[in-house]
Symmetry: C3
Subunit: 206 residues, 3 copies
């Protein structure tokens, strides 16, 4: 039940590494988007859309290759799960940008960048881990740190929501901001789920 | 790792085909419900409830049969996944009707029928694909079109939510309509997940 | 594809039984929390937090053991699924408490205790079933009753949400109470998902 990616299957590492780089790009675009004025948002939202498509293409490439390669059914399940969870990270970062656009949110919630900084760091750690999947046992620091960052994102979310509901915001604004905060929180969760998948893969190897 | 439904297992095709027909019925009831006045809603909601029960029964029949039949464990996982995702489609269409009833929503959001028309089409395509699971490779048109329809449903959802938050609705109404829109959107997603499952099954065969 | 926990693997039963007891403790703390005044909430929320950590530790112990034990890959998938779904029950009960704290909800919604009583009963049934996983076929009464309780929780949820939206609550209060109700409802769903997992395991054995 191991993810034994033999030399012949090097392309899996490359594909996962490529997805990792897309995640770093997406987190960076997200940070720029949330820090930018109204007039720059459209362009950055379009860039995020392109990154989501690039991620979909990479995920499909993984799925096609896993079926054309000689890997055992169990490896396949792990590879499917990993690809699908990496895709979730991208989806949620895209969703956060999308909600700001759909709801025409004006000024963003102060403190939102604290969550985004966590996501940038999670994306960087994930991207650094992907090329090292060959020996997942050596990745303990990665999954411990990504999980710690998720806890940190959760603490920020609680602080932001507490502030949002303290009576100083109009209800409609609360509804909009709350959804953006929750999308970012799901992104942090998604990165943790990726790390848990890698941890499980490492456990199976050991 | 293939869904090899041998002649002896014809009943699987029949069961999945039956679930496909239930989905078409449910999408039709949903369309009638959203187009009907208050006084017809109760009867249609009851009809939707019956369809959900029929779906549950069919899903259980699949699960019982998969365990009494000679299929490999891998086939089992695919059959479980497919049955479970078909059930999700029904659950979300039922949820949309249910939310309208629970929240006693008066006039429904203009444009809501645009999403429902997408669901009707997705249900029809799914029902037509189910009896052809024996050769899932021939179903490319099916999953491509269902995915395209999901993108269309998403565009409608964005338009509806944007309109809902443009300042002309009372907050309480926004909350209610938003949940109905989101349930319909999850139904469109669920149909896409079914199609992705069939695509994965086809990839494994190839 | 059976969960064949041989004598050597008795520790699995013990670990699942331990998680079952944590769930009963959590449901009890939840009932106390929702019935308590503001000043007792902090202490009970902290107790819930501790139970969540204890659950995480037990889940990790299951995952480590499943990989060091001689169990087939199929058993592994079942054990992963069961552990993960038990964890979901705890997460949702914790989330309900957490939302009350974050939103500084004052008086709780009348009738909320009706859902919590269902959760307490589901937790007790789950805890009683865990040590009997060796013969899951004998657990029919368990999963039938947990599913019946989920339907009951759903009926309560519908009644509570209907009342919440009847015009007598301020919108901000509706938003807060609604999220607490939904977290409790997801907890009842999570218990049903555990029961469905056990049912599937029993079907595979038969």
């Amino acid at each position: 039940m191991r993810l034994r990616l033999t030399p012949r299957d090097d392309s899996f590492y490359e594909l996962f590494a490529a997805i990792g780089r897309i995640l770093v790009d997406a987190a960076t675009v997200l940070a720029q988007f949330l820090g930018s004025g109204q007039h720059e948002r459209a362009e950055l939202a379009e860039r995020m859309q392109e990154l989501e498509h690039a991620g979909d293409d990479a995920t499909h490439a993984v799925l096609r290759r896993v079926n054309s390669s000689f890997v055992t059914p169990f490896d396949r399940e792990d590879i499917y799960t990993l690809a699908s969870r990496l895709d979730d990270c991208l989806d949620e970062m895209h969703a956060a940008v999308d909600l700001v656009v759909i709801y025409r949110v004006g000024d963003l919630l102060p403190g939102l960048s604290d969550v985004v900084q966590v996501l940038v760091r999670q994306a960087e750690l994930t991207a650094a881990a992907m090329p090292r999947l060959r020996s997942p046992q050596g990745l303990t620091d990665y999954w411990v740190e990504v999980s710690r960052l998720e806890n940190q994102a959760d603490a920020v979310r609680r602080r932001l929501l507490g502030r949002l509901f303290d009576g100083s915001y109009a209800t409609l604004e609360i509804m909009k901001h709350k959804e953006v905060v929750e999308a970012l929180d799901r992104a942090a969760d998604a990165f943790e789920h990726v790390a848990q998948t890698v941890e499980t893969m490492a456990l199976k190897e050991s």
